[in-house]
C-alpha cells in the first residue's frame, strides 16, 4: 500500500493529536507523539494490509507509541535526578485554552486521575465515539475487556467528579 502522507496527515492528524492529548494531558508531548505516529506509519506502510481503515491503523500506532512513552516515563521515574524534573505530566495541569471552559477542565482533571486502562477505554468509546470492534482493533484487547473497562471507568469517573464537586462546594 502506498501511504499518501499529505492526504492522511490533513485528514487525521488533528484527531490523532487529540486522542494522544486525552491520554498524556500535555500539548508538547502530544505533538511529538503525533509526529512519531506519522513517521512510523510512513516507515511501515508496506506492512499495512488494509484489514482495518487507515485511521484505525494510525490510532493503533498512536496508542502503541503512547504506551511506550508511559513505559519510558515509568522507567525514568526510578532515576533520582530525573524524578523532581519529570513530574510535570503526572498531574494534569490545565492549559490556557481550557481556562474559560470550567466543565471540560473538570473532566480533563478527572480523566487523568483514572487508571490508564479506564482512561483509554473512555477516550475511545465515549469521547472519540469508536465502536467496540474498532476499539478492540486499536487497543488489542478482548471485547469483554473493552466493555468492562468502559463501564468501570465511567463509574470511577462519576465518583471522582462527585467527590470533586463536593470539595468544591465545601
Amino acid at each position: 500500500m502506498t501511504f499518501n502522507f499529505e492526504k492522511e496527515y490533513e485528514a487525521h492528524s488533528d484527531r490523532i493529536y487529540q486522542y494522544i492529548y486525552f491520554l498524556v494531558g500535555h500539548t508538547e508531548t502530544a505533538e511529538d507523539l503525533t509526529q512519531e505516529t506519522f513517521i512510523k506509519a510512513m516507515q511501515y506502510s508496506t506492512s499495512f494490509r488494509q484489514e482495518a481503515s487507515t485511521f484505525t491503523w494510525l490510532m493503533k500506532i498512536a496508542r502503541n507509541l503512547t504506551y511506550d512513552y508511559f513505559r519510558r516515563k515509568r522507567l525514568i521515574q526510578f532515576l533520582p535526578f530525573r524524578k523532581e524534573y519529570d513530574n510535570r505530566e503526572t498531574v494534569f495541569t490545565p492549559e490556557k485554552w481550557l481556562e474559560n471552559h470550567e466543565e471540560s477542565k473538570r473532566l480533563y482533571e478527572a480523566l487523568h486521575q483514572l487508571k490508564l486502562d479506564y482512561r483509554e477505554a473512555i477516550v475511545l468509546r465515549k469521547i472519540e465515539g469508536f465502536s467496540i470492534k474498532e476499539s478492540v482493533e486499536i487497543l488489542g484487547w478482548k471485547e469483554a475487556k473493552v466493555k468492562n473497562c468502559t463501564e468501570r471507568g465511567m463509574k470511577a469517573l462519576k465518583q471522582i467528579l462527585l467527590k470533586g464537586g463536593e470539595e468544591h462546594e465545601s
Binding site: F5, Y21, E31, I39, Y44, L107
Partner: protein
Amino acid sequence: MNLDDQLREMVRPYRDGTTKDNSKQAIMKKVKKESIRNRWIYRLVLVSTCAIAILLFASFFASTSIQQDVTATPFGNINEHTKIEKVIILENKNPQRQLNLRSIFYPFKESITTSEVFDDVIPILLSARERAIPWDGTFEEEVIEDIHFTFSNGEELYLKQSFEGEVSEHVNFLYDPNANMKYALSNEEWRTITALTDEIHSQHQFTRWTFIWKFLLVIIIIGISIVINKKEQKKFKIEPKKKQSSIVNILLTLVSVYIINKIINYFGTIHFGVGILILISVFIIEELISYRRTKQPIHWKFLSLNLFIALIFLILLTYF
C-alpha cells in the same frame, strides 16, 4: 446533560495552521533523515557481508593450498636426530584434496605436541624416504586420514594414511602427495602410527566438563536469542510478522542439509569459513522468502545482529 454527553462535548485541544505546517515539515525532515540513515546501514551490512564472504573465500583457498617447497624431499628433509614437535591429524572425505592442517578454519582437526610415540615415528619416516615407491595419486578408500608433522629443524611434512587391497589382506600405506610417493607400512610400523593417532584422538575426547560447558553455552545463547527476538517483535508489533510456513521451513532445512553434505564431501572436511557463508546465505534467503510472502520490510539491523550472535555462538561452540 449526562456524563456521556459531557464527554462527547468536551473542548478539544486545537492546533493552528502554523503548528500543523511546522509539524508536517518536521515529520518529512525526520523521515528523510531516517531513510538516509537506513540506506547507509543497509549498505554497511551489505558491504560487511561481502567483505566477510571475500575474506572467508580467500581464507579457504589459502588454507587448502600447500606450498610445494614444504616437502621438497619425499617424506621430509629429516635425519635420525630430528625431533617431532607437533602432529596434526584430520579425517578427509575427499582424499584427493590437500588440506593445510595449520589453518584455524578446520574445526575438527586434532593435534598433539608431546608423545612417547614421537621417537618411534622418526625411523618410520626415514625408512619411507629410502623405500618409497612412485604413486599415481589415486586412493582406493573414500575416507582417509591426513597427517601434518612439524619437526625441530623447522621442516614440515604433509602425509596421508590409508590402505589398499582386500579387507583380509590389505596393506597400509603412507602417501606423500607432494612427492607422489607411497610407502607400505609393516604391521609394526602401522601399529606405531595407529598408537599416535589414537593418542591424539583420546586427548580430544568429549569429557563431562566439555559437555556441561557446551550445554550451558547452548542454553545461554538460546536465552539471548529469545530475548532479542522478543525485543524485535515488540519493536515491530504494529503488524506482527507472519510465520514462515512449515513446508518452506522443511524445504529450506532439506536443501541446507543437502548442500552442507555436498560441500563437506567436496572439501573433504568442515571448513569454518564455508560454514559461516552457508549460515549467512540461509539467513538472507529466509528473509527474502519471508519478504516475498509477507511484503514486510527486512529488518537488516536485526538480521545482522542475529547473524553476529550466531557467529559468536559457533566460534565458542567450535573452538572452546
